[in-house]
């Protein structure tokens, strides 16, 4: 049933024509959203697309979904060219756009799923089985009869995921599926995608702004910026290098003392009573750094976190400067 490579993308380019001022009289201008990207996702793999706003992630996702034509380049999803065999292609994929709703506002969740059953010609027995499984996994039993208009964002997103999966797609494409979700819903979505891959071997391509999504799900991480691929590596490789970095913020009750930072830590920002330190926990474990800081006079508060995606990308630019 599975193809060796579920998704193959080669030298994909997309240029949008936009009119300045939005009117028909304005001059046209070109925006290059994708500037020649290539990658392959084998069947059964979960690949994460990360990059700052405007990097071209959604553009790539729409081309893969078959609803946008590229300017040039080739794409095959399970041996179909999405925009040329649109109807056959969309019958086999499931898509979630995090900020848009595919369920029908006026219908209940259950009615929406029934409509999707007929759209995708899902056999009744299989439909009932899938519906039960999705309702269990995504905690939908309580909201099946509720109209979509009345759902909270978290409930709606979980229903959206069910809607994208009711027809057992071979490939699922998720554009920011966890955006705006509360913590329990995020966990439910992640767990569900993980199980799906394990049980059905579904290929998943997702974009996200949340590094926790990547950490929980992705086998592969593709970093994209300004329409180009900056890095494409297994999650472990990325984690060992760029993703491992941590940020520590320390507040002092008085003026900043002399920090005398140990090897592996650098001071990256400084206020009058606070300091930001970037460190690599592989070289300098967090407890050691914290122990060191605790010896300093006037230490008030400590926070440790990870750098934002934007910072990671900036780092990539510095590292891969062309």
């Amino acid at each position: 049933m599975k193809n060796a490579a579920a998704i193959e993308v080669h030298d994909l380019r997309k240029t949008y024509q936009v009119r300045d001022g939005g009117s028909w009289r304005g001059k046209t201008r070109e925006i290059t959203a994708l500037d020649g990207i290539s990658f392959t996702v084998p069947a059964g793999e979960i690949a994460g697309f990360i990059g700052p706003n405007g990097a071209g992630k959604s553009t790539a996702i729409k081309i893969l979904a078959g609803i946008l034509r590229p300017t040039s380049g080739t794409v095959r999803v399970g041996n179909l060219i999405p925009w040329e065999n649109r109807l056959a292609h969309v019958a086999r994929i499931g898509v979630v756009f995090g900020q848009r709703t595919q369920l029908w506002w006026d219908l209940s969740v259950g009615e929406g799923l029934a409509l999707l059953r007929d759209i995708y010609s899902v056999e009744p027995a299989r439909f009932l089985r899938n519906r039960e499984r999705l309702a269990d996994a995504l905690d939908l039993h309580g909201i099946m009869d509720q109209s979509v208009r009345q759902l909270s964002l978290g409930q709606r997103m979980r229903a959206e995921i069910a809607a994208a999966l009711i027809h057992d797609p071979d490939v699922i494409i998720l554009d920011e599926p966890t955006i705006g979700l509360d913590a329990p819903s995020k966990l439910a979505v992640r767990a569900f995608v993980r199980d799906l891959r394990r049980e059905r071997g579904t290929t998943v391509l997702l974009t996200t702004h949340d590094m926790h999504d990547i950490e929980a799900l992705a086998d592969r991480v593709i970093v994209i910026g300004h329409g180009r691929i900056l890095a494409d590596s297994p999650f472990e490789a990325l984690q060992a290098t760029t993703l491992s970095e941590r940020i520590l913020e320390a507040d002092f009750t008085g003026p900043l003392p002399d920090l005398l930072l140990p090897e592996g830590a650098t001071e990256t920002a400084r206020g009058s009573r606070s300091v930001t330190i970037t460190f690599d926990p592989q070289r300098l474990p967090a407890p050691v750094l914290v122990a060191h800081l605790s010896t300093l006079p006037g230490l008030g508060d400590l926070r440790i976190g990870r750098p934002a995606i934007e910072e990671i990308i900036t780092r990539f630019y510095a590292d891969h400067a062309s």
Binding site: Y16, Q17, T59, K62, A65, G66, I67, L68, R69, W83, R86, L87, A88, V90, A91, V95, F97, Q99, R100, T101, Q102, W104, W105, D106, L107, E111, A114, L115, D118, I119, Y120, S121
Partner: protein
């Protein structure tokens, strides 16, 4: 290719229409009110100019008005609201992600929406303006029964064609909405156009001679004007076949050109991004 999704879509839209029972009642009251005012105006005109050779009798004008009022929501006043919402929110891209024929998909929903709105009102209004009005002694003001059994059969076929014509015009509004990403323009243009050209404002047979025949040959006449004339057994230039022929012509033309235009619109969305 299966028709199941289109049928399901039709049924669901129909149910949504029925959910708004209060709106049906409120609309009914408004329609009765407008109907009554029109009737009084006609009565006044007809009584003050008894010598004029009008193309319709007062009785026909009253029946015409009642049926038009009861079919107000069958008119293509603008795009399908769900498509307007989807265009504004960007969810319209999901319609390209469905393995269905987009024309049939939107058409079945549009038709269901029109019928789901119109039929409950039409039934209620027919009951009030027909037998009930007769019962309370307003015989002269009431809705007359069809001219004959044959007229009833012809009118039924014609009403069905009319509903499809209206849904096809709604499809054109849907396409405009998909292109402009806003439903407002279609309501601004569609509502006055439909109210005027369908004969809702003034029955088409009452227009001056030079306009009367022209007005018969535009698509909005096929929605309710032609079916009503058949119902009342009114003479139509060219006869019954011409009447049904005009309807079939517009249904075919709106569908063929509309499908082509929709195809172009989808291509444009695929290039420019929705």
């Amino acid at each position: 290719m299966t028709i199941k999704p289109y049928v399901t879509s039709f049924v669901l839209q129909w149910k949504i229409g029925l959910r708004y029972r209060l709106a049906v009642l409120a609309g009914l009251v408004a329609q009765m009110w407008f109907g009554a005012i029109s009737l009084m105006a006609y009565a006044a005109v007809y009584h003050h100019a008894p010598g004029v050779d009008a193309p319709m009798t007062l009785r026909q004008a009253m029946t015409y008005t009642w049926i038009q009022q009861s079919l107000f929501t069958l008119l293509p006043l603008g795009c399908l609201p769900a498509i307007g919402e989807a265009a504004k929110s960007g969810a319209i891209v999901y319609d390209l992600l469905r393995p269905v024929d987009l024309w049939n998909w939107w058409l079945s929903a549009s038709l269901a929406r029109l019928l789901g709105n119109a039929i409950p009102r039409a039934v209620l209004l027919a009951a009030v303006a027909g037998p009930l009005a007769a019962l309370v002694g307003l015989n002269g003001w009431s809705l007359a029964p069809p001219a004959s059994l044959w007229a009833a059969i012809l009118a039924l076929c014609s009403f069905i064609l009319g509903a499809f014509i209206s849904a096809s015009i709604v499809m054109w509004w849907n396409i405009v909405t998909a292109r402009t990403l806003s439903p407002l323009g279609t309501y601004a243009v569609g509502t006055p156009l439909a109210v005027l050209l369908s004969g809702m404002l003034l029955p088409l047979p009452l227009y001056p001679d030079w306009a009367r025949e022209l007005l018969l040959f535009q698509p909005f006449a096929g929605i309710s004007d032609i079916p009503i004339r058949l119902y009342m057994g009114m003479a139509i230039p060219g006869g019954v076949l011409t009447a049904l022929g005009i309807q079939c012509f517009w249904l075919a033309a709106l569908t063929l050109v509309g499908r082509f235009w929709m195809h172009r619109t989808i291509s444009r969305m695929e290039v420019q991004g929705a």
